[in-house]
């Protein structure tokens, strides 16, 4: 149990909590958890850092990539869907992912509306006997749910109704995100029991969001004028600002997933530095090798690709494994976005699939390799790459199938309730005015 919990993300914590909070009739009462104030402080900070990734981070990153007439629409969709995720999380999301009992797919509903959780409730960390307040764990995991649904929107902006975004978000979180978070991170979850490695959400967040983004954009259809008209980012300056905020926030995302202020968090931190640095530079290198100039957008995209790839590997790799992972993921994402997408002709508006989906898959599979102690990873000496690779592949493929089917259902429900897509007139005029009655820029 503890070996597994060291490998995986936060899920084990809550399983231990369940034990520690076990009623008097439990056979062997678990030792009482002592709240560590240093760990708690770090987790409070990490949680806020992840929030910074959403608004302003992702809102600016995505907003800058859209046309000026859709800037506010993009920012508003991201902010609103994140708020929706937070409310749903405390109502029934947390209990579905990390509640009591349950099965391989979801937890029980005993903690619906945070029933039974008080300021004295403690969630375990990965060290025996050490805990953090359960409210902190609830909040930390809540920010993951919020950013994941926001990431999905990257493929469907500039044409999806605001109301459709909200309906889609509610259904998608319920049938896709909560079960996958449970499967990967909760000790009773399917992938967790298999021993799948996912330190900070390569599978749960990035593959999940990326594949869902692709499926949603396929159902929604291309933007008017794509790919013949000139549809270019309206402000790479804002995209650059968003990239910086995402990188900073990602330290909370990755190093926070250690659940403690310790060496595992430090490893996740250094990996989040160096994999990202490699990602940023190698995308530009790929551009040069393909006869283009090294571009600012390429730099930003590479940064994100590196961050995505290192997410599952953050505490599961040595620094040099992380560098290789960031570099490889960046180059593969470059080809996914610049060659694969035009060839297949789908309109993944902001490359949510090309960067998060593809980068997440490379990261999740690569984690099995860089975990090996012979490559500088933190694995035990008897670690077998081949076996772990199979486990990772099963988790990845299952996640892809689950996310794809769930997204089809969520999208069609949104279509039935709201009509899904704005009218052609609104799309031409821009969703800022058409859906929100405002302009981003008044001069």
């Amino acid at each position: 149990m503890m070996r597994l919990s060291k490998l995986a993300g936060g899920g084990a914590a809550i399983a231990l909590t369940a034990l520690s909070a076990a009623p008097a009739w439990a056979q062997a009462p678990a030792p009482a958890l002592v709240v560590n104030k240093g760990d708690t402080a770090w987790m409070l900070v990490s949680t806020v850092l992840v929030t910074m990734m959403i608004v302003p981070g992702l809102a600016l990153f995505y907003g800058g990539l859209t046309r000026a007439k859709n800037m506010l629409s993009t920012m508003t969709q991201i902010g609103a869907v994140a708020c929706l995720a937070m409310l749903i999380w405390v109502m029934y999301g947390y209990t579905m992912a990390f509640g009591d009992g349950g099965n391989d797919i979801i937890s029980g509903f005993g903690k619906a509306f945070l029933a039974g959780i008080t300021p004295d409730s403690v969630a375990a960390t990965f060290t025996a006997g050490v805990g953090i307040p359960e409210y902190v764990f609830v909040c930390f995991q809540m920010t993951f749910a919020a950013i994941t649904i926001a990431l999905v929107l990257g493929s469907v902006v500039e044409r999806m109704k605001f109301s459709a975004v909200m309906v889609f978000g509610a259904v998608w979180l319920t049938i896709v995100y909560f079960p996958i978070a449970h499967m990967v991170w909760a000790s009773g979850g399917l992938f967790f029991k298999m021993g799948a490695l996912d330190f900070a959400g390569g599978t749960v967040v990035h593959i999940n969001a990326g594949v869902s983004a692709l499926v949603a954009s396929l159902i929604l259809g291309k933007r008017l004028g794509y790919p013949t008209e000139r549809i270019v980012p309206h402000s790479l300056t804002l995209t650059g600002v968003g990239t910086g905020l995402l990188w900073v926030g990602w330290f909370g995302f990755n190093a926070g997933s250690a659940l403690e202020a310790n060496g595992s968090a430090a490893l996740a931190m250094i990996n989040t530095f160096v994999a990202t640095a490699a990602g940023g530079l190698f995308w530009m290198l790929a551009e040069r090798l393909n006869g283009h100039k090294g571009s600012a957008l390429g730099f930003c995209s590479g940064i994100i690709a590196g961050l995505v790839a290192v997410t599952p590997a953050a505490g599961n790799s040595g620094p040099f494994g992380a560098i290789v992972l960031g570099a490889v993921a960046s180059i593969i994402c470059f080809y996914a976005v610049s060659v694969l997408k035009p060839k297949l002709g789908y309109d993944d508006a902001l490359d949510a699939f090309g960067v998060h989906g593809v980068g997440g898959i490379v990261g999740a599979i690569g984690t099995a390799i860089v975990y090996a102690p012979s490559l500088g990873g933190p694995g035990k000496p008897d670690y077998a790459i081949g076996h772990q690779l199979t486990t990772q592949l099963i988790a990845v493929v299952t996640t892809i199938i689950w996310a794809a089917i769930g997204t089809v259902i969520a999208t069609f429900i949104a279509k039935a309730v709201t009509g899904l897509r704005v009218s052609a007139d609104v799309e031409r005029e821009g969703l800022d005015l058409g859906e929100h009655g405002e302009r981003a820029y008044n001069s």
């Binding site: 957008l297 035009p342 090309g354």
Partner: protein
């Protein structure tokens, strides 16, 4: 009186302005414009998607001067805006029928 219209590369504006001041030009109008000539445009690449724009940003200068200095004005602009590369721009000279300074009501050459 002549109207000299010059379309030049944006970064040549300061040099052209200096050259025109030496020739004795007292005022000019400058606009940021877009267009194309033999320099057909440029290509932008965003994440592998290529967009060729056929409009290139340029600066348009308009100077009205006395007929006898028009040639020197043209020469000054031509010399200052020249880089030898494609897209350096063009100069047009037109006749001007009348000029009035709004504040004083002065007309023609004295109004310039």
């Amino acid at each position: 009186m002549k109207l000299v219209i010059a379309i030049i590369k944006p970064f040549k504006l300061d040099e052209v302005r200096e050259a025109l001041t030496t020739v004795g030009v007292a005022g000019m109008t400058v606009s940021e414009v877009k267009g194309f000539g033999r320099q057909k445009g440029q290509t932008e690449i965003y994440r592998g998607a290529e967009y060729s724009t056929n409009m290139v940003p340029k600066i348009k200068i308009e100077v009205v001067c006395a007929s006898d200095v028009a040639d020197r004005v043209v020469e000054a602009v031509q010399a200052a805006a020249n880089t030898g590369a494609i897209g350096d721009g063009k100069i047009f000279v037109l006749d001007v029928g009348q000029a009035v300074r709004i504040r004083t009501g002065e007309t023609d050459d004295t109004a310039l």
